[in-house]
């Protein structure tokens, strides 16, 4: 982690403005704007197919937007390669978990430091003394992150043999290993039981409070979102239909209609989210 004192304090860490992307004739996301401040958790919700993951893909360089811009602090990220954006300090996890299946749990985290070790491969091949202590530090920080997400006892497991909930936590540890300023979580609580969800909520909170990151999260579990997020953006059919704090979002008639339209009972969950 970069010490807080070295972080630039600007109003917003990550800022997306008027993002639009079309796939053929389909406008998947239209004029999407959003800001993620440091030390805050921002939620991105909406019915299935609303374009939430597409927004993540636009911000992390998987897709290039047709219009609009993405900035991290003062750095323009629009249209840059995914690996360049990651190096600038935007890390993410994936809705459909993407761990490295051929690597162990610890190796998955260490692999995230590959870029930081650039130019050292020859030295590290021959085990030169200058490198040995740096590599030890690297392993230490990988282990610390595993401890942070509660995976210390699993470091030699094959990553994909972990239970589902732990795989999601491993993805978070791996993303944190890149020393990000902003963390984007795509449905981190999916497939978790209530206890695991509570642990995850605590984890996300300490990523903000202890490490000082800004977090943007997509999640379908309304209780989870309403309890954690300070601001929420609601997306439907690729357009932002509401922005506000959890209480405002729950009362917003447009949001309720969007969820009722989806007819999956989530509207009740939106309305009843914080009372549970």
């Amino acid at each position: 982690m970069i010490p807080l004192s070295e972080r630039k304090t600007s109003a917003f860490l990550l800022k997306a403005e008027n993002l639009t992307i079309r796939f053929g004739g389909l406008v998947a996301v239209q004029s999407f704007s959003l800001q993620v401040p440091a030390r805050q958790i921002v939620g991105l919700i909406g019915p299935n197919g609303a374009g939430k993951t597409t927004v993540f893909n636009l911000m992390t360089g998987v897709y290039k937007p047709n219009e609009g811009s993405v900035h991290l602090e003062d750095i323009e990220l629009t249209g840059r390669g995914a690996h360049v954006i990651a190096r600038s300090g935007v890390a993410r996890t994936f809705q459909n978990i993407r761990l490295f299946a051929g690597l162990t749990v610890l190796e998955n985290v260490v692999a995230a430091a590959s870029w930081q070790r650039r130019g050292q491969s020859v030295a590290s091949l021959f085990g030169l003394p200058a490198i040995v202590s740096r590599e030890k530090k690297l392993l230490d920080s990988a282990r610390k992150l595993l401890e942070f997400v509660g995976l210390s006892n699993y470091e030699n497991w094959e990553a994909t043999s972990l239970p589902y909930g732990l795989q999601r936590k491993l993805e978070i540890a791996r993303a944190l290993m890149t020393n990000p300023k902003v963390l984007l979580l795509d449905e981190p609580a999916a497939g978790m039981n209530p206890t695991e969800k509570d642990e995850l909520a605590q984890l996300v909170r300490s990523i903000c409070d202890v490490h000082g990151l800004g977090v943007l999260l997509i999640e379908h579990d309304m209780k989870f979102v309403m309890n954690l997020c300070s601001r929420i953006t609601v997306l439907d059919h690729g357009e932002v239909i509401a922005v506000g704090n959890p209480a405002e979002i729950q009362k917003n008639p447009k949001v309720i209609e969007a969820y009722l339209g989806a007819d999956d009972g989530s509207a009740a969950a939106v309305a009843g989210g914080s009372q549970q």
């Binding site: 690996h83 890390a91 692999a111 590959s114 870029w115 070790r117 590290s124 890149t178």
Partner: protein, 300 residues
């Protein structure tokens, strides 16, 4: 009798060592980076021909007489020339999605074979003869051990991890700041350079190389060695090379009708191995050895 047997076994052992080094190089490309190269033998031939040309023409011109020094320099020449050839082939192909690399390497092998047949300075169709005897069985095995050791350590380096991450999931690798293009390119050129080293050892042990060494069937043999042994394991590649060299040697004592169908036996071995142990022969052997770390690998 014993002496004869020893003498007889030297050539197969040299061929095993050479094939094992080739397979280790391809293992990095195929198992390490997940890229299919169907022209690995061509990079081997590039290394072999360049190293031979170096020791035949450049060596005397530079006044190099020490055989050890000349051999070491030949290894460097072999590695660098194959690396450069790998770079030229891979740079345009890896920018494209899909299996263009397999096609391009196949094409490169064909072009190289034809070109070598028409260069008189390296013997043309008759092959390159008159190469000094600089390497031997110990040379081959020492280099094999060094390559094996280096590749085993390479996995732990930043680049090694980036290559494996790229193989397993490109999108995730990119999201972690890994340039998947450079990772794939590095794996390909390093693997090609290792093939070039094998070529340099071969020409100075047998004192001969012909354009047939760049042939597609030679590349297939190396792919088979890696696949039979187990793509994800260095040990597997060496094991695969052992089998591919040992099978024709054993069949030498069989009747002609049986002996000449060696590709059929290789095909049968591949089918049987894939049926019973999709991760190759090495995983079969690993399963027979008691596990040292019991917590690893819940997915069996």
């Amino acid at each position: 009798m014993m002496e004869q047997l020893l003498e007889y076994s030297i050539l197969p052992l040299i061929l095993f060592g050479i094939t094992a080094i080739q397979a280790l190089g391809l293992q990095l490309i195929l198992g390490g980076a997940g890229l299919l190269s169907l022209g690995h033998a061509a990079f081997y031939a590039v290394g072999g021909y360049s190293a031979a040309a170096f020791s035949v023409y450049a060596g005397p011109a530079l006044g190099l007489n020490d055989p050890t020094l000349l051999m070491l320099l030949s290894l460097v020449v072999g590695a660098l020339s194959a690396l450069a050839a790998g770079f030229l082939v891979a740079v345009p192909c890896l920018r494209l999605q899909g299996d263009y690399l397999a096609m391009a390497t196949l094409g490169f092998a064909e072009i190289l074979g034809t070109a070598l047949k028409n260069i008189d300075a390296v013997g043309g169709t008759r092959g390159f003869t008159g190469i000094p005897k600089l390497s031997s069985l110990p040379w081959v095995f020492v280099v094999l051990a060094l390559v094996w050791w280096a590749l085993a350590r390479f996995r732990r380096t930043g680049l090694g991890m980036a290559i494996q991450a790229t193989r397993d999931d490109e999108i995730a690798a990119r999201s972690l700041g890994i340039s998947t293009y450079s990772a794939k390119l590095s794996a390909f050129v390093i693997g090609s350079a290792i093939a070039g080293i094998a070529g340099a050892l071969y020409v100075h042990a047998l004192q001969f190389i012909s354009p047939d060494e760049a042939d597609f069937s030679r590349s297939v043999i190396i792919v088979l060695a890696v696949v039979i042994g187990g793509m994800t394991s260095l040990f597997g590649s060496v094991l695969g090379a052992l089998i591919l060299v040992a099978v024709p040697e054993v069949l030498r004592f069989a009747p002609d009708a049986i002996r000449e169908q060696r590709m059929i036996y290789f095909a049968l071995i591949v089918i049987v191995v894939m049926l019973f142990s999709p991760k190759g022969l090495q995983s079969l052997i690993m399963r027979l050895i008691p596990k040292s770390s019991p917590q690893r690998g819940g997915s069996q």
